[in-house]
Amino acid sequence: MMRFVRCAIAVCRKDLLTEARQRETVSTVCFFGLVVVLLFGFAVGSDTTWLTRLAPGLLWLTVLLSVVVALERSFQAEAEEGCMDRLILYSASHRAVFLGKCVTNCCVIGTVQLIVGLAMSILYDLPTPQQPGLLIAALLLGDVGIAVLGTFYSAVLSKTRARHVMLPLLLFPMLIPLLVCVVTTTQAALLGDLFGETTVWLRLLILFDAIFVAAVFWTIDPLMEA
């Protein structure tokens, strides 16, 4: 158990360190996110009441569209240099390597989301969130869901010839329930929840995360061996 945790931390630390020294992925992704935020402003119009109403949906769409680039790259370094096999041989288990990658992706998604969200609140003149606790819960749970399934599909694609176009095609339909949950919850957290409807969405979100974390970690062994 100790070895498992230490292995996961080591993989995560290695990836984050590479990212901190290279500063390639996160900066590209954040820049892309900011451009999309700007573009949505032009597409919807400068009317801030519209932008405020659409903001929760736009925030999550921007995050989804931009982190695809980061997710695609999460197994690329290993796949290109052929060190995935050795990484698996050295480590405690496949799951530990996968968990490390997952945590890295979660950090990246969180960072991108923070920057995109802040840019949105300034550019779209968003009100102060009515329920900051709920907002943080929605963001964290949403990020975990995207990270787990995104890392899973990234691992799948690292085994195939097709890399670049396929990830959104496979990942986005899987994330539709998550998208519905997080957008509703974020909306309630931002604009206030008059009818107390969010509890059910928050529960569904937790259920989604729980089911897919369990299922992904159960099935990841044969996938990493493939």
Partner: protein, 227 residues
Amino acid sequence: MKYGIILVVIGFFVLAQARGLFFTPPDQLMGEVQRLMYIHVPAAWNAFIAFFITFVGSIGYLWRKTPVWDRLAASSAEVGVVLTAMTVCLGAIWGRPTWGVWWTWDARLTTTAILLFLYLGFLAIRAFIDDRRTRARVSAPIGILIFLNVPIVYFSVKWWRTLHQVQSSPSTMDLGMVTSLRLNALALLAVLVTFLYWRMRLERRRQEREEQLAMPPAIADSTGGGR
């Protein structure tokens, strides 16, 4: 004789359809359009059966690691995609005169459409992997994950928005209609099983052929691979 069973299945299907189309009363309100039900509803039911078989096949592969489970999962997903596409298209054709729109964001419609995309993705990813063992190991987890997502997608979209008419219970329907519907469901199930069987057979042959081609020529000749 080999093709006899196919003739029987086609005959059964044609008879069941004929019963629904010509020997069952039309709906009181919807009229003749309602007869689409005899293919739309059975196709939807059988698509779910096919996807469940994919789920079972995926679990079976992870458990046993034998290629037959992988063939089962892949063949069943193909049949399921065809049936789902049929369900969505026929539903749209029925929806236009009945609801006045081709498409609405209702729970069951949306879930079916999402299912179609998820399983198309499953088939697409398989097409991108050449090695048979890798393909099986990669697609089995996806087959499981997609199926687990089905109820979540359904409930999330259901709470989000809903319009699809509630299923009619057999007690409110004309007996002739119920019989026709069930008969067609059985007929389509027979079609599903036949498709599945032939698709798995084809896949097995293809694998055997691939193995023969992968062998050095001398061995391939001795096993009759040159023919």
